[in-house]
Amino acid sequence: MAAKTHRVLPGFGLALGYTLVYLSLLILLPLGGMVLKASELGFAQIIDIALGERSLAAFRVTFGASFLAAAVNAFFGLIVAWILVRYPFPGKRFVDALVDLPFALPTAVAGITLATLYAGNGWLGRFIEPLGIKVAYTPLGIVVALTFITLPFVVRTLQPVIEDIETEVEEAAASLGASRWQTFVKVIFPAIFPALLTGFALAFARAVGEYGSVIFIAGNLPLISEIVPLLIISKLEQYDVLGATALAVVMLALSFILLLAVNLLQWWSANRHKNSEPLEVAAARASGGAA
């Protein structure tokens, strides 16, 4: 048996056991308890709670704003990560440290600060409100808060991957005749795309569950700017623990499905490039396309 499954690294059984126990205690146990509690309600009742007019609106706002925030960060976070890795400039370490601040700041502080900044008399709000753009107390404000909160996820996920791409690869592509755009699209982007997806997924997942910062800037108007976590709190205020749990379970299920989809996409794209196309080959292919 042992001979059959001989592995290079010893201690597989121990490692697997440890992983399973640790994950079970930390994640499965509380989440399982939650699902069990929700199952006191029937499936039909849970669906009923989730499909109410206000719940539906809140799900739209929560997932829509989270998607937008993660997408904005995927684009601008990529640029930030690229610049932080590739370009030396004075004060780089300082700027690099700034990226982590949204992690450290209590989210309520972030929300109150952003609301003050974007309110009609705030430093930013006084300039953009006359242009007809309202941020504080609108769904746009939710996107702004979530973008702030989730920035580090994309940047920190991409940085090590970009560091791993050697400049020689770009030089090779260039010397083989690829244009800059072709080098980016056919060589660099495929290499960082899996990490970009991971960063996007992490940012999205974090945004879906965010409460502290959002409630101070959202405005919390029913059907317009209520998020799902607010509805959960609202149920708790009614001592309706079951209803709150039901909403939480639906939210969890939706998040899990979306994250699973992102993971599959990421796995597919990572494998495609890992197996068939080392970077050097990609470089050659890019130049081939140019020729």
Binding site: A119, G120, G219, L221, P222, I233, Q238
Partner: protein
């Protein structure tokens, strides 16, 4: 570094010493903004109890959102007494068997040692001429309130406006709901809590009127200056109660019934009532109310029991899922 650790150990020693010196320790689970009231009240009671019985009592405070606090007590937080700002929070504990079913009769005045009233805060000079609830529903007026469904402060506002509409000539529930619909349309946002609403109104300068507790007006004056705003008393508003109760299970287990009862009773003493008045809460004691009459102009109030038949009933009709608040947002 050394200094800090020295200071810390001194502090720890102090804590241990004070706990060791006290004969009895009481835990008071209270609502968020009660800090000031009890910070001043606790030493008064400690002095009184020491003089009366020779026993020294230590009082610990736990503050948080009212509903969060009672949930913590239900989940096992060993509070001897609860001092809340909503009757239905105490009802919740009564349902769980932690507090006597007739808790409201265990102490005078519906077990609420002091009260407050919902008032309007308007900008200096009252530029929109806001006098009463009807003005809040007028087109072009913006009102700032905390979430009516999720916060006690917001619920009090909602019920005050409802009661006012009900008492108008020809008023009924249907008309009241219609009125609330108009009034809520004038809210550009629902603040996360009472203090967040205050910040939004005073600091971010949003809205024409903030609706909040009378006691909060004095806090605003301290923070932002008296000349920045005016207080308007509507023709009818809610008398908000701050009910207190013994947590029967805990005091029996800890053997602190005598001290905990005395602690709550002392809220009705001259000293306790005076302390409430100094914190801008209306005392029940008529003489002390008179003494502080500059703080507390006469205002016509109703209680939730009179108009809505009790806190639980009001909550069920208006703020439960599918209640009148939800109906207003579904008809759109």
């Amino acid at each position: 570094m050394k200094k800090i650790s020295k200071g810390l150990s001194a502090l720890l020693l102090g804590l241990v010493a004070s706990a060791a010196l006290a004969d009895v320790t009481l835990l008071n689970a209270s609502y968020d903004v009660a800090r000031d009231v009890y910070k001043d009240f606790n030493p008064l009671f400690q002095k009184h109890w020491k003089a009366k019985t020779g026993e020294s009592v230590e009082i610990k405070q736990s503050h948080g959102g009212s509903t969060k606090q009672v949930r913590a007590v239900a989940d096992g937080l060993e509070a001897d007494v609860v001092t809340m700002n909503q009757a239905n929070d105490i009802e919740f504990l009564a349902d769980k068997g932690l507090v006597a079913k007739d808790w409201a009769k265990k102490f005078p005045n519906n077990a609420s040692p002091y009260t407050s009233a919902m008032v309007f805060i308007v900008r200096k000079g009252n530029p929109k001429g806001i006098k009463d609830w009807s003005d809040l529903a007028a087109p072009g007026t913006q009102i700032i309130i905390p979430h009516p469904k999720n916060t006690g402060n917001g619920r009090n506002t909602y019920l005050s406006a409802w009661a006012w509409a009900l008492r108008q000539p020809g008023g009924n529930d249907l008309k009241a709901q219609e009125f609330l619909g108009k009034l809520l349309k004038n809210a550009p946002l629902f603040a996360a809590g009472g203090r967040d609403a205050t910040t939004t109104f005073m600091q971010r300068r949003m809205g024409d009127v903030l609706i909040t507790f009378e006691s909060e007006a004095e806090m605003i004056a301290k923070e932002f200056g008296k000349g920045e705003f005016e207080v308007v008393y509507p023709s009818l508003t809610m008398q908000t109660e701050f009910p207190v109760a013994l947590v029967e299970k805990v005091v029996d287990k800890k053997g602190t019934r005598t001290q905990a009862t005395a602690y709550l009773e002392y809220l009705w003493s001259k000293e306790g009532q005076e302390n409430a008045a100094q914190n801008y809460l209306r005392p029940r004691d008529a003489d002390i109310l008179k003494k502080y009459s500059t703080f507390f102009p006469p205002v016509k109030t109703f209680t939730v029991d009179e108009v809505f038949g009790g806190a639980n009933k009001a909550f069920a009709t208006h703020f439960k899922d599918g209640g009148s608040f939800d109906q207003i947002y579904q008809s759109k």
